[in-house]
């Protein structure tokens, strides 16, 4: 029996060295991309099909004092993921350990996951026509290895373990961090049904560019839970109506009378 796993990202310990990003590329054999200076020390603006994790840097001034906030961004692996719901080809699935993984053989690159993820994580490679995102190093995790990013983290900002045990540890650490950063909070406890990657943030999530209350888009909910079920009923109804209509017409003799009319016309021509 596999228990649910968890990765704690303690941003109070992060030094912004970006080793997680490099180790991710190393393990997943992703090519390097041209970096840009976005702001502060941030060199990657967003997720791409080739960059599944990067570090965001925020410089926040409060009372003439700068708070340098760093956050390792990657897939949250939600308990209730929008991407799994949105996927048109059932390519994305949840594992028992709590990870959302894309089956590249099934993916058709429709981009529904990209459009519906509240964090903007999956990205479609327009050439390969496949969607890519952090897989949480599922191959390593299932073989009792730590994810590549966690393994490499030198300041110990990333921690991997059983969910229950690590949550207790996270709450303990939060109490400690709140002494110096009163706004500190855990992000991902209840968001999207409780995420596998949980953050200890030093400030409000908005400051880090995270949605305060991430949700499955209403349009997706409408489409998957309302319109499609209703639509399938309606489709069945329409098919039944066609059958009933045809039968009724046969019984009324509509087809026969048309045939008779035609023969009558021919007869008239002969005479």
């Amino acid at each position: 029996m596999t228990t649910r796993k968890m990765v704690l990202i303690d941003t109070s310990k992060c030094t912004g060295c970006k080793a997680c990003s490099v180790a991710c590329k190393e393990w997943n054999q992703l090519p390097a991309e041209k970096t840009q200076l976005v702001m502060s020390y941030q060199s990657q603006k967003d997720f791409t099909p080739k960059t599944w994790t990067y570090v965001t840097f925020t410089e926040k001034y409060e009372n003439n004092k700068m708070n340098w906030l760093m956050r390792k961004a990657q897939c949250f692996h939600c308990a209730d993921p929008a991407c799994v719901k949105a996927c048109s080809s059932n390519a994305i699935s949840k594992t028992e350990s709590g990870y959302s993984v894309i089956d590249q053989n099934k993916c058709i690159g429709c981009g529904y996951c990209e459009a519906n993820c509240p964090f903007g994580v999956p990205k479609v490679d327009q050439v390969k026509k496949k969607s890519f995102k952090c897989e949480g190093c599922i191959d390593r995790v299932e073989n009792n290895l730590k994810p590549a990013c966690v393994k490499t983290c030198q300041p110990g900002a990333l921690e991997f373990g059983e969910r229950e045990a690590l949550l207790t540890k996270a709450k303990k650490r939060l109490a400690e961090v709140q002494k110096t950063h009163p706004k500190a909070m855990l992000y991902g406890l209840n968001e999207m049904g409780g995420t596998t990657y949980i953050y200890l943030l030093l400030d409000r999530p908005e400051v880090y560019g995270l949605p305060a209350n991430p949700q499955i888009p209403a349009s997706l909910f409408l489409w998957k839970d309302v319109i499609r079920p209703v639509g399938s009923v309606a489709f069945g109804g329409a098919a039944a109506a066609v059958v009933v209509g045809v039968l009724a017409n046969v019984m009324r003799g509509a087809y026969r009378s048309k045939e008779e009319g035609e023969t009558g016309h021919r007869k008239g021509g002969e005479s």
Partner: protein
């Protein structure tokens, strides 16, 4: 025992391989359901990162003679399995297309570099060193005593035409040999690349 440079390298390679198998570094067979590791069946070779003086331990995963993966060595007390971004990216250095793997020579005035053999390169360097050392050799130097104002000839035995340049990319033992060589040759100038 007379060991050539090539022979020494071969010997050390064999001893590293023997050490790796002897200590039981065989990667265990993956027991996953449906998820196989791409490092399955590779040989783990412990090594040291050469980027800084920290000397973090690395495990090189080698399969069919090719480096396929590299990560921190959990048994190394320096880094306990972690690696910084520079060390974590080292596998891309190993197969970088721009990495020179053979000595190259460019004749004066020529535009392109030409591959030459190690023997040729070492012979050429030795010849040039001898030439420069002979022409710039200084056995004595005349100095003026600041107190008495008298000049005197001091034995210095050095060559001032040669500089030895160290690097952050070479390890402790290599630095030791380089420093020793520069003293044997008689050059007072040994400098580190980071100070230029």
């Amino acid at each position: 025992m007379d060991v050539s440079r090539r022979g020494f390298l071969k010997l050390s390679g064999i001893s590293i391989a023997a050490l790796a198998t002897g200590l039981g570094f065989d990667p265990k067979v993956a027991e996953a359901k449906g998820y196989s590791l791409r490092i399955e069946g590779s040989k783990k070779i412990p090594s040291i990162c050469h980027f800084c003086s920290g000397g973090c331990g690395m495990l090189l995963h080698v399969k069919d003679g090719k480096l396929i993966h590299l990560e921190g060595d959990p048994d190394n007390p320096v880094n306990e399995g972690t690696l910084c971004p520079k060390a974590a990216s080292l596998s891309s250095v190993a197969y970088a297309p721009h990495r020179p793997t053979k000595p190259k020579y460019r004749t004066p005035g020529a535009k392109d570099w030409v591959d030459i053999s190690w023997d040729e390169a070492l012979d050429r360097i030795a010849k040039k060193m001898k030439e420069v050392r002979d022409t710039t050799w200084k056995a004595t130097e005349q100095v003026t005593d600041s107190k008495t104002g008298q000049t005197q000839n001091l034995t210095v035995n050095r060559t001032e035409g040669m500089v030895f340049l160290g690097s952050a990319e070479i390890d402790n033992e290599e630095c030791y040999i380089l420093k020793k060589l520069s003293q044997v040759v008689g050059s007072p100038y040994h400098e580190h690349q980071a100070r230029i």
